[in-house]
Subunit: 709 residues, 2 copies
């Protein structure tokens, strides 16, 4: 419950996209979001206080649903005009009084995958793509999305909505658009849970440059107000303990390290809101959202204790014991704001990563600090200054630094790496079974849709030990669909996998011990010369990055050009990054590192990090090619160490054949042919013990060396 007055409205500015885009988490520059098309408005969906008081439904199991089922549960938007009308009716209410309302995609934790009850933008606009920002004024409604979703948005938006094609020349950002269309002095409302503290700060600073006011609507999420009973209930799936043999480090040790960092930074507490950071730190895994094994929670770590803010129903007795052992107390998810205020009241210096903590929390702390100092001032006036207060800390002060968890989580320990290696072998076995099955089906003339194929893959994976979930929605794309980089086949509207076209399959799984993410592109018949040339050049890029050696701390973008060089030679390229970080039995996309042509991410690569290696090539309306392995960053053991530093290279995690039918061997150097043959020999060696029968034979057939004449 917020302690702020229910009608509190605070003026803020609307910032321009160019500056606010800096506040998007680094994860958004990875493959998960097409790098050309980051949405500009850093607004993150809020959890309203009302929602947090809503009724509880029974905890669900962890089992993953086939894609087809998940999709069927999405809201069906057939009354968009009435929704807009209802929303606008709220604008003029005396305690609201706004001229426009911004509805972003995200939840309050900046999660990539979010629970359905937080999909407010999809509800209000009807557009169900993963990225988009809706803005509604008294007479206009506009939706911004990026190139991945233009077609989908055109289909899903009704005539009340204007589609704003973000990234296209001349298309204004939401704030530019609002500045243009609102009458001077316009009032734009947002839910403060939807903005990171940085974004809000930025808005505040630019307020004077725009002739409009931005206000925080603390107690109203206007979409929730109109969504009412049809709104899905918040997820309440059970939390499980992440076994120490996979985590490698117990919670007490992790908390001890964190606390020494807190002390070093002069802080006495830290608030963590990023869900995979909480899961990693507490060796817990949740089931609140598809693909990411996390639970909705906040974590407050103090020097002498820690509190997990989470809905009680998710906490099993095992988890309860686990937390108790680690000295972590439970608090209701809803009570985070008052806990933050209490913290300030007792004078704690709170560490806040303002790029991830939402404005509601950050402002609650700041306001409480202000109150503390006012109270202190009054006391001093009465009592005079004591030597105690002048010598010791005089009051609570925010420590504004990046989260220390992000890097600790990115650099995997021995057990995490072992879990990743093992789960990748089991995943490879499932894939070998799958590919054998699919080739047979196609050979037998069976017509299978892209969704059917994805569902069958899920079946094979489910049979593997420790399977938990898919790690993202499978991209199963035949022919021209492969050219849509973030294609997601819908059961109602997807293609049959065509024996005479390229087939691109990008998929991954969550296992108890690791997370996988792999893309292979195959042809079931005779590929064209063009397809072979493109595939071979993508492969050359994949090999060049795989074989790279580089000084420690090199930012990933330095390596990006290695993966493109072969394509560039004939005037080809691809419009996405080359690599993203991957969690260990956690989110398939994680920061802080990335390998991308976007040059803003200066995070250096470290031994123990995991990155994907996924160059591609996409020919519109024709085909798509991508070859993706996951890699561990490791010491390269070079004979020299110029500069007195270590040099790094990569160890492969993914062991699944690359279709040699698509390779034009005349384009490859001897070294590249050797790489491919060596890779396939490793695939056979590592994965064949996990297979038998025809799948094993398939693996043998598909790992035979190529000979360069």
């Amino acid at each position: 419950m917020h302690s702020l007055p229910s009608q509190a409205i605070r003026p803020l500015s609307l910032s321009s996209s160019s500056s606010t885009s800096l506040y998007l988490r680094s994860i958004s520059s990875t493959f998960s979001v097409s790098p050309f098309f980051n949405l500009q408005s850093p607004v993150f969906a809020a959890i309203s206080s009302r929602l947090r008081r809503s009724t509880v439904r029974s905890c669900s199991s962890i089992t993953a649903k086939p894609s087809s089922e998940i999709r069927r549960t999405r809201p069906n938007n057939d009354e968009p005009d009435s929704k807009l009308r209802a929303l606008r009716d709220l604008f003029s209410k005396p305690d609201i009084g706004i001229d426009a309302y911004i509805i972003p995609s995200q939840d309050a934790h900046q999660s990539e995958f979010i629970a359905e009850c937080y999909m407010r933008r999809a509800y209000i606009s009807g557009f169900t793509g993963s990225a988009g920002t809706a803005v509604v004024t008294s007479d206009k409604a506009a939706l911004w999305t990026d190139g991945r979703y233009f077609l989908q948005a055109e289909k899903q938006l009704n005539s009340s909505w204007t589609l704003m094609r973000a990234g296209n020349h001349g298309v204004p950002t939401p704030s530019e658009w609002l500045a243009d269309i609102l009458a001077p002095g316009g009032v734009v409302g947002i839910d403060p849970f939807l903005f990171s503290a940085d974004a809000a700060e930025d808005l505040k600073e630019t307020v004077s440059r725009k002739n409009h006011k931005l206000v925080y609507l603390y107690d109203y999420n206007l979409v929730d107000e109109i969504w009412k009973d049809s709104r899905p209930k918040p997820p309440r799936g059970p939390i499980r303990v992440h076994d120490l043999r996979y985590a490698g480090l117990d919670v007490a040790s992790k908390l001890a390290s964190l606390r020494s960092e807190l002390k070093e930074a002069g802080s006495s507490a830290i608030i963590i809101s990023v869900l995979d950071e909480i899961a990693w730190l507490l060796n817990l895994r949740g089931s609140d959202v598809p693909n990411s094994p996390v639970m909705y929670a906040y974590l407050l770590v103090e020097l002498d204790g820690a509190k997990l803010f989470v809905d009680n129903c998710k906490v099993t007795s095992e988890v309860m014991d686990h937390l108790k052992t680690a000295g972590v107390e439970l608090r209701p998810y809803d009570s985070i704001i008052s806990a933050i205020e209490n913290l300030a009241e007792k004078g704690a210096n709170l560490w806040l990563d303002t790029s991830s903590i939402n404005a509601a929390i950050a402002n609650a702390y700041r306001s409480a600090c202000d109150k503390y100092f006012i109270r202190l001032g009054n006391k001093r006036k009465g009592k005079g200054k004591t030597s105690e207060t002048s010598n010791s800390q005089v009051g609570p002060t925010g420590v504004y630094k990046s989260s220390p968890i992000s890097m600790a989580k990115a650099i995997k320990n021995y057990a995490e790496l072992e879990g990743m290696r093992n789960s990748h072998l089991r995943d490879a076995a499932a894939l070998a079974q799958f590919w054998f099955w699919l080739e047979q089906e196609i050979l037998n003339g069976v017509k299978l849709t892209e969704v059917e194929v994805a569902d069958k893959l899920l079946e094979f994976r489910k049979k593997q030990d420790g399977f938990v979930d898919t790690s993202f929605d499978t991209i199963s794309a035949s022919g021209a669909n492969g050219a849509i980089i973030h294609y997601k086949p819908e059961p109602s509207d997807c293609s049959v996998v065509d024996a005479n076209k390229l087939f691109l399959l990008d998929s991954g799984a969550q296992y108890v011990d690791g997370t996988t993410d792999i893309t292979r592109t195959v042809h079931f018949g005779e590929p064209t010369t063009r397809q072979k040339e493109c595939f071979t050049r993508v492969l050359q890029g994949h090999i060049a990055l795989d074989q790279a050696v580089f000084p420690q701390d090199t930012p990933g973008f330095v390596l990006d050009a290695f993966a493109r060089s072969s394509l560039w030679k004939i005037g080809l390229d691809y419009r996405h990054g080359t690599g993203h970080g991957v969690g260990a039995a956690l989110n398939v996309h994680e920061g802080p590192q990335s390998i991308s042509f976007r040059f803003g991410n200066m995070t250096g690569l470290h031994s123990g990090m995991i990155v994907s290696n996924e160059p591609g090539y996409y020919e519109d309306h024709s085909f798509g090619i991508r070859i993706e392995n996951l890699l561990i960053v490791k010491d390269a053991d070079t004979p020299n160490h110029f500069g007195g530093i270590g040099y790094l290279g990569f160890e492969k995690l993914t062991f699944v054949p690359i279709q040699t039918k698509l390779v034009d061997i005349t384009l490859l150097s001897v070294e590249e042919v050797n790489w491919l043959n060596d890779y396939h020999s490793q695939v056979w060696e590592k994965v064949s013990p996990l297979l038998e029968g025809s799948a094993r034979q398939w693996l043998w057939n598909n790992t035979r060396p190529l000979m360069k004449s």
Copy 2:
């Protein structure tokens, strides 16, 4: 003459290095300044008003002097303590009143090569290296320089000075150091001509964060005050017209383009202070400084006229006619400040590139604008607002944008490229003659010093048509000297070229039609396995960059890793950028593009730009290797144009053999061997027609193909 009161002292802040280093011109990130060691204080040597009134000496000829002679003319510092005493005596003068004084290296135009009379930092400190900042307080004197110069500075500084090894861990920046050692409220003085407007602005903004004051000393350059009569006179060499057949575009056309850019930007005038920009725009070449064919001048271009501020004695009648034809009037160099003020008085909107224009000029314009508006305000009070003033521009406004000349100059036209190609062939002929001569001398056991060898190279170049000057001080380095990246042999203290060690020669020339810059590394005897491995890997990097194809507008740093990749594989690297821009018969280092591991320079590469390709490897106390060609950026004519854009590649300008004795052919791929053989075949084809006799035979012998078994 400044119109500011003679005792004007304005408070400014001392900024921290981290922010001010952003203001260093992009050129400083090229090879000319070792990229690890940019000095942090963006202070640029001023031309004091007194200096500009000093007596005239007769104009010198354009002929280049041998390195040995140039060096002998440098000041001999034998009384450092008395200089410091004299300087400090000035601190307490009532119209000065400072506690510290900063003396930077540069002139008022941010030139790389500066006239001796502006070498104030060298005069006061005794340290003659090209980069350094001296700071003198009432009881301390400290000199900052970078890793290239630590040894030299140790030798040259006397005990009154503390050497600050910039870039070393824990070494404070000048401003950090001053902030530490000065008593609170300390006053630091600078000459406003020494700071770019950006740097000054930055200082102003940070004043509140430091407990010290920075003041502009407008009328005193304290070093000049104590240097007095021993100070060299300012250069007065003649200006010459740069022939249209080399320039390719007449001045009227260039001015017309510039004026349309002025109009587009809403400005009515532009002030240009960067010397090679003035030379390029006016098709003029000067002889004021060694290596760079430029003249000290400012250029003011208005919509209806242009004024060149230059000392009259440098202007021949031919130049006078040339300028007249282009509509350019002459003004005394000293009168720039009053001209700027007049401009503001008549309401002109002046375009200033605040990264290059010094603070004295920028502030003169701002002050005059302020006065204009005060006057206007007074007038309006008297007369009331007229419809004319409310409809039209209300007064002078600065247009703060990057100089439009920099990019126009960087993208060479057909004639400039032809001049570059032709001059490189003549230069290659001179180098073939030189290398044949040197090999013979060494074979005959003649002992030659590094300086004698450099002087002989100059002799060969002087014989070539159109030779003007060297383009930088020749780096002639035997054995371990080659590991000192910016080694400059001094006649008094240089090595004999050792027949049994690697010899690195980095040199270049100014011709009437082009500028060259080439490095070759050779061994006269038997190279070690280690030397061959390192040389071969440097060569592989050189080839990888040479062969790169990339999308138009790719920033150079994206390509940098191509040149390092082979070295990285065995844990080696080099501590300098890979490529810098080169002027066409102009400065050997020019921006805005560069190819470097420093990621700040986002300038995209364009067809028509020129860059160097110069990877290297340096083994301390042992040897240095560098292989440098100049390249033209050109359309790559790829079969595809993904993204609807052009793809670029390189055309070689430099045609001098690479010593195959140093190549370990087992390390090279077939493609790399082919590159080398193809290059040598082109060298023979292009350069042999310019040679005869033994030099021609030498070229034949050194362009024979290698065979990979």
